[in-house]
């Protein structure tokens, strides 16, 4: 007679039917032995959460869902924003080019209207305008980043601090940070590119932190910000960039 396997006996304990067990005393004894062990295995005690548990779960979840919706809207916005930005950029660039072209006109009077030089200078102007717009955008990015870093630096490290909002913002900034860094490198804006480079790992650390950080995690973030002197650097570079862009925006009106 073929006895049932050990695995089958375990399955029999959990309700599977084996005809063999009806006839075989030996296997029934083995089943009883296993049952004696498994019957004593009660679920490990689960610490019962307090009465507020459900509302705490919801509280923590609610803003994550809000972040979820915001991200959804942002995706929507980015889709439309990308189109709008191209249109705006083309328009603004065209506008500046016309004004600047008139402003620099004295230099080009002596030359024929459509000289290759002039075409090159038109293109340069256009490029310069685009760079300025980029700098303005990056400056806003620096402004947002600085605010997050300052907020986090001012927090007193405690257990379970909720940095959800900062984290969500850092996450948003992280994607654009990479994009801007590449653009800044392309355009030879070295200071800007370096700062963006320094900023990236910090934004990443914040974006990937749990929404409720431990005191140690927060301290690690603060240390990193401090070690790189990031807040100060952000202020300096922002002031520089602001100066640059302000000067160039006034130029056409002069």
């Amino acid at each position: 007679m073929n006895h049932v396997t050990q695995e089958e006996i375990v399955m029999a304990y959990y309700g599977e039917r084996f005809a063999h067990l009806d006839d075989c005393e030996e296997c029934r004894t083995e089943l009883a032995r296993i049952a004696a062990v498994l019957d004593r295995v009660d679920a490990p005690e689960v610490p019962e959460p307090d009465a507020d548990y459900e509302s705490r779960v919801w509280q923590r979840l609610e803003w994550r869902l809000r972040g979820e919706k915001k991200r959804e809207r942002r995706r929507e916005w980015i889709r439309w924003g990308a189109v709008a930005a191209v249109v705006a950029l083309a328009f603004v660039a065209g506008l500046f080019w016309q004004r600047e072209n008139r402003a620099v006109a004295p230099q080009s009077v002596s030359k024929p209207a459509q000289s290759p030089n002039q075409i090159v200078s038109q293109q340069q102007n256009q490029q310069r305008q685009r760079d300025r717009i980029l700098l303005v955008v990056i400056n806003e990015h620096f402004d947002d980043s600085e605010r997050i870093l300052v907020e986090l630096s001012n927090l007193k490290p405690e257990e379970g601090l909720d940095i959800g909002p900062e984290r969500a913002r850092a996450e948003g900034l992280l994607a654009s940070n990479r994009l801007y860094r590449r653009s800044a490198e392309d355009r030879g804006e070295e200071n800007v590119a370096t700062l963006l480079d320094d900023l990236e790992p910090v934004l990443m650390q914040i974006a990937h932190a749990p929404s409720q950080v431990s005191a140690n995690e927060l301290r690690a973030i603060q240390k990193r910000v401090e070690a790189k002197g990031l807040v100060l650097k952000l202020r300096v570079v922002r002031a520089n960039v602001r100066g640059k862009t302000a000067a160039s925006y006034q130029q056409p009106n002069v």
């Binding site: 050990q6 695995e7 375990v10 399955m11 959990y14 296993i34 004696a36 062990v37 498994l38 004593r40 295995v41 009660d42 679920a43 490990p44 005690e45 689960v46 610490p47 959460p49 548990y53 459900e54 509302s55 779960v57 919801w58 923590r60 979840l61 609610e62 994550r64 869902l65 979820e68 749990p210």
Partner: protein, 186 residues
């Protein structure tokens, strides 16, 4: 009459966050218990609860009402818990609980039932720790929660025979660990 889960899901799909809140309030405690049994840690169980509802929210449109919302949400929870165990395992060298166990077993068994009960609980906890993520999940679902084999297989993405085998391996580990308590039963 109380609104059914399915009605709440439909309202939540339409953007009604209050409906989703009701679902969270109804099911978070149950999911917490399952998550705790798999992760054996309340902070992890909390994270699993959060992640479960976040994933549920994102995939509400895939819920077709064939399984109960409880089953559907538990399925997500088990997967979250397994992901968590996986990432933890990758991060740190697996904690070898055999040391704790030898310590546990070498303790003189007190004749008092209460103490024995507590030791047994610890041995069970140690045995659960010694199981792989799949083994623990399959065992927890079958033994503590009475989930049918086919359902467990669906959750773990394995065939029924493999599920049986997984549960068998889990039970074998458990029996080894519990030997000191059950072997000498007169």
């Amino acid at each position: 009459m109380e609104t059914t889960d399915l009605e709440l899901v439909e309202r939540a799909r339409g953007g009604d966050d209050d409906a989703f809140r009701l679902l969270v309030e109804r099911h978070s405690r149950g999911i917490y218990r399952t998550a705790y049994r798999i992760t054996s840690n309340s902070a992890d169980a909390d994270d699993v609860v959060q992640e479960t509802f976040l994933r549920a929210y994102r995939s509400l449109h895939t819920y077709d009402g064939r399984a109960s919302f409880t089953t559907w949400a538990h399925r997500i929870a088990v997967n979250c818990a397994l992901d968590l165990l996986d990432s933890r395992k990758r991060r740190e060298a697996r904690h070898d609980s055999s040391d704790d166990l030898s310590e546990l077993v070498s303790q003189d068994a007190s004749p008092e039932r209460v103490v024995l009960g507590a030791q047994m609980q610890r041995a069970i906890a140690a045995a659960l720790q010694a199981m792989s993520g799949n083994e623990r999940t399959a065992f927890v679902l079958r033994h503590f929660e009475g989930v049918p084999l086919e359902e467990i297989g669906a959750i773990l993405g394995i065939k029924t025979n493999a599920t049986k085998n997984t549960i068998f391996r889990a039970v074998t580990k458990l029996r080894e660990r519990l030997q000191p308590f059950t072997g000498s039963a007169s």
